[in-house]
Structure formats: C-alpha cells, structure tokens
Amino acid sequence: MRVGSTFNVAFRALRRNKLRSVLTALGIIIGVGAVIAMVGIGNGAKAQVEAQIASLGQNVILIFSGSTTSSGIRTGWGGAGTLKIEDAEAIRREVPGVAGVSEEVVSTTQVAAGNQNWFTRIYGESADYFDIRQWPLADGAPFTPQDVRSANKVCVIGRTTATQIYGNEDPVGQILRIKEVPFTITGVLTPKGLSPQGVDQDDIVIMPYTSAMKRVIGGTNLRNINVQIGDARQVEAAQQQIIALLRQRHNIRPGRDDDFTVRNQQEIAEAATATSRVMTLLLGAIAGVSLVVGGIGIMNIMLVSVTERTREIGVRMAVGAHGTDILTQFLIEAVTLSSVGGVIGIICGIGASRILSAYAHWPTLISLSSILIAFLFSAAVGVFFGFYPARQAARLDPIEALRYE
C-alpha cells in the first residue's frame, strides 16, 4: 500500500543528489556495458567460426589417409597413402545415403599466365566437390564428370588466384600454366574468405583429381575423401559403415588400429567452437568482475549516504516512517541506480560493439538473452549490495538519528 509512496520518496532522494546518482550508476554502466560488449565479441567470434565450419559443407564426413613411419620419420595424416581411388568408388557404391563423394589430392606449386605467376594450392577433386562444399561459381562453369574421367586439362580458380594472375581481366577461357602444363580455366569460384585456421580459401586452383594425379602431382594415392550424406540423421550410421568398409578393404584384423581417420563435420565444429566458447566465457568473466566492482561501488555510496543522511532518516521516522519504509526506500534507490545503470550500460555495450565491428572489423553478436541476463544481473546487484546499507538505515534509532551531527 505504501510502496507507491516509497517509490516517490526514493526517486525524489535520487533526484536530490543527481551527480552522486550518476557517478554511482556509472560503475554499473561500465560493468554492464563491458559484459555486453565482451560477450558480444565472444559470441561474434563463435558465430564466425560456426559459419566457417558450415562452409565446409553440410553433413560432410572427411576420411583422411593414415600416417606412416619411415626410418623413424612420421608423415602425418595423409602421408601413408592408404586411401585409393577404389576406396572412394566403394564408398560411392556401397554406403547408403551418400549424396556425393570427392576424391582429394593436394599440392602447392607455382602457376603462371602471360607475364604473371603466383604460388598457390592445387586441389584435385571430383565434380561433386562444389556441391559438397556448397561452393558455387561466380563466373563460368565447373568441370564435369566427363572431364574427371578423361583427366582433361581444365580447372576452376579462386578469387585470390584470379586477382593475382589476371588482375581485372576475366580469367574464364584463359590458359593457366601449371608445372608447364596448360590448363583451360572454366570458371571462377565465389569468394569464401578465411578458413577457421586462418587460411585464405580463395587462394586455390581446383582441377579434376585425375588430371592432378596424372599431370601435376603424380602418384595414385588420395590424401582424403570428402563424403556428403543426404540426411543429417544418417551421418553417424554412414560414418560407422565407412569405417567398417575401409577396414575390410584394407584387411585390418579386429583389434588393430585403423590406417585412416574419419571425422564428421560436427566433431570439427565442436573442436573449433570450443576455443571461442572458452574465450566468450573468459571475456564475460572479466567483464563480470567490473560489474561486481560496480555493485560494491553502489554499496559504498549507499553506506556513505546512510551516514550522511542519518538526520534525514531520523526526520522521516519522526514523521511516521516505519523501518520497512526506510529499508524499501534505500533498496529502491539502490535498485533504481543499478537497473537504470544497467539499461544505459546495455545501450553503451551495444554501441561499443557496433563501433568495434565498424572500425576494428571484429564480428560481434549481441543476443537478446545476454541483454536480459545483463539487466537482471544488474538489478540483482542493486538488491544484493543495497540490502546491507538499507538495513543499517532501517535499524537507526530515531532519537539518535535526529541528534546526529
């Protein structure tokens, strides 16, 4: 019944000490603003990583050739040469739910056209690759299954390679010399940006894996096989079937280790986002500390305020205020400071992350939930740190308070 009046009383008291109110709220403003901006940065980084992982393609299973040890030197994944073209064909044939398979060989080499040359990565793939990676062409057309069967001297190139070699010229139809072999460029890929590992994915030449094996890299071993499954629910089962199939094909007895590694996109995504999740937590925790410091600031000011306003409290009690009225008044003052500070802090935090996005080109993502949590937390800070001073005020003896100098 009296709460309405008490709000009135508390707001009047805050208005009376404008500068102090603003300075007290400032602690919370900075705290909440920091939390919003930091979590925004962390979430933005996470979202970016997730987007990059998604750019690997949907429902993709990656099979890497195993490592081998020769004279004590271990080659790393793909070095063992255990994956054969026939393995890929068996997967295409025998594993249910497979939407696409791309045999992959990788090399780096110098490419040239006219008087320009450039050191870039050569990927040998099947014609399915562009669907698997969801990587459409910006210009021209991809190579065809027929090109793969015939090991034709055709390729598509990434945006970076195109710019480095041809500048503003249209590369489609031009001849690119790769290890002195002339390849016809059939298309240019849409830019994909950096990979989760920070590699420029557009610095690339993609050609039929058959052409790569025969004319550029040599050898008949695949570094890896990219498999796309049509239905997300079948990925797990397909992964198990691929492992079983390859073990059988490679004559691996039960109990022996695989000579290949199978990863699905989900696992890769989890590994990659774990880092940014930790970063988000860390940033949030650091910003949270400043919120707690802001809360202590409120408690500090409220305690000073109770001492300084002892006479005022005495007068209020003399004219009929109950202890609970005083308690509520000081609590409302504290919560008002912290929640108004919280709202301003949210606005500042959003502003700060906008500025970071615009000038530092950091991706930021502010979710509604982080705004709500920040607001509720700041209000809770007000209650928590306001309660002790408010109780001190409510417990004052009116006679002592009136006599206080």
């Binding site: 019944m1 309405g4 009046s5 009383v9 009047r12 005495g314």
Partner: protein
Amino acid sequence: MNNGAVVKLIDVHKVYRTGEMEVPAVRGVSLDIRRAEFVALMGASGSGKSTLMNILGCLDRPTSGRYFLDDADVSGLDRDRLADIRNRKIGFVFQNFNLLPRTSARENVELPLLYNVQRLTNAQLREKADRVLASVGLVGREDHHPSQLSGGQQQRVAIARALINDPEVVLADEPTGNLDSRTSIEIMGIFQQLNERGITIVMVTHEQDIASYAQRNVVMRDGIVLSDRVVTQRSAAEAELEKAARSTSEEDRGVGPH
C-alpha cells in the same frame, strides 16, 4: 479519566542503562495537558525535559508508568505502531529545523503525507502542502529550497510540516534556539495564532521570555516536575513586534531610549 486531557502521563519513569549503571532520567512524572493548551516545558540540561519530550513524542517508551495520548494508551506500543501515532497525532518542530536539504519547501511539507495510511495523488499532496504553507505566511516560497530561505522561514516550513496531518499535539523542541530575538517573537506569534485556533502545543525552552508566550510553564529538575504554574504576565507576540518596530524606527531617528 477524560477531563479534556489530550496528553495524560501517569507516574512515568525512564531509566537508561549504560553498562552496569542505571541512570534515571525521568523519575515519576504525572502530567495532564488539556486540548488547546500552550505549555512550555522548562528546565536546565539534565533535568529530564528532553527525555520527557521524547516520550511525549512517541519516539521513546517509558520504562514504567502510562501515557495516554488522545485517550489511547500508547506506553506499550511497538516501533511501527508508535511511528503511526507520530504520523497521525504528533507534529514535530525542531531547534535546527531538520528540513531535507535540496528539497523544496512544498516537498518538505508533504513528507508526513507520504507515510500516511491514506494515499494521495501528487496533485492532492501539492494542494494540501500549499494550503498549510500559506497558513504560516509562506505564499510564493513553495518552490524554494531550505538554503534559499531565512532561519525564520525555514522554521515556518517546519511548522507547516508539523501541521500537515492535523495533529493532536505539536511538540516543539527549542524552536527559537537557532533564531534571533525578533524572528523568535515571530515564531511565537505563529504558535499563539495556532493555539487560538485550538491546537495543543508543548514547547521545550530554557528561555524565560520565550516561555512567557505560553499559557502554562512546567519546570523540571532531576527528573521530576519542580513547578507547574499558569503564566500570569503572558506576552503577546503581536504587541511585542509592534513595540520592537517602534523602537527601531525611533533609533533610526536618533531618539532611542539610551
């Protein structure tokens, strides 16, 4: 029991405990104050008059004895009930005014209404406060802060605050202690006017000439009532003010009494 007494104290004692020691401050005071009386409570410091004032103001409870305010026994009430009694039945005027700083005269006067059981709208609060401020001669000062008002004006704001809830009794603790003599007389003038309107006033003072504006003087010493007498030669504030005005104008003309 009711003989028109709005305040009735029966054998009131107050003992303070300081560690092991028991210090009696009031040692058996019985006192009746009738409606529309103007009583001055006098005594040296340590006489127990402040303690008695705190009990009268329901800020403190007697250790023993009974206190009837407006026929209701208030001696055994808890903190919150006493706060309600103070809000509805008692108006306080303090020596140092005790106005809230950086707060307009109007908002200071509204203060007791905010703790009233009855909720008023801001417009009603304002209207009521302005009316009481006008009755103590502060028309046009409603928006002034205490720092923009003279001591006398501040005390008038405090009196308006004491009157806002139509109390049974106004308790004034050395109301002229911080004021010059002329302003003191003005404040006494207001008290006498209020008293003529039927308001009961109890005023603590140690100044004999201020006490002479009251109808009745109660003198305390060592926690008991030493004397309780009707003022025979009562000062009238209006006449005193006229006298003072006349003497200053004579001084201006250089024909002062000295």
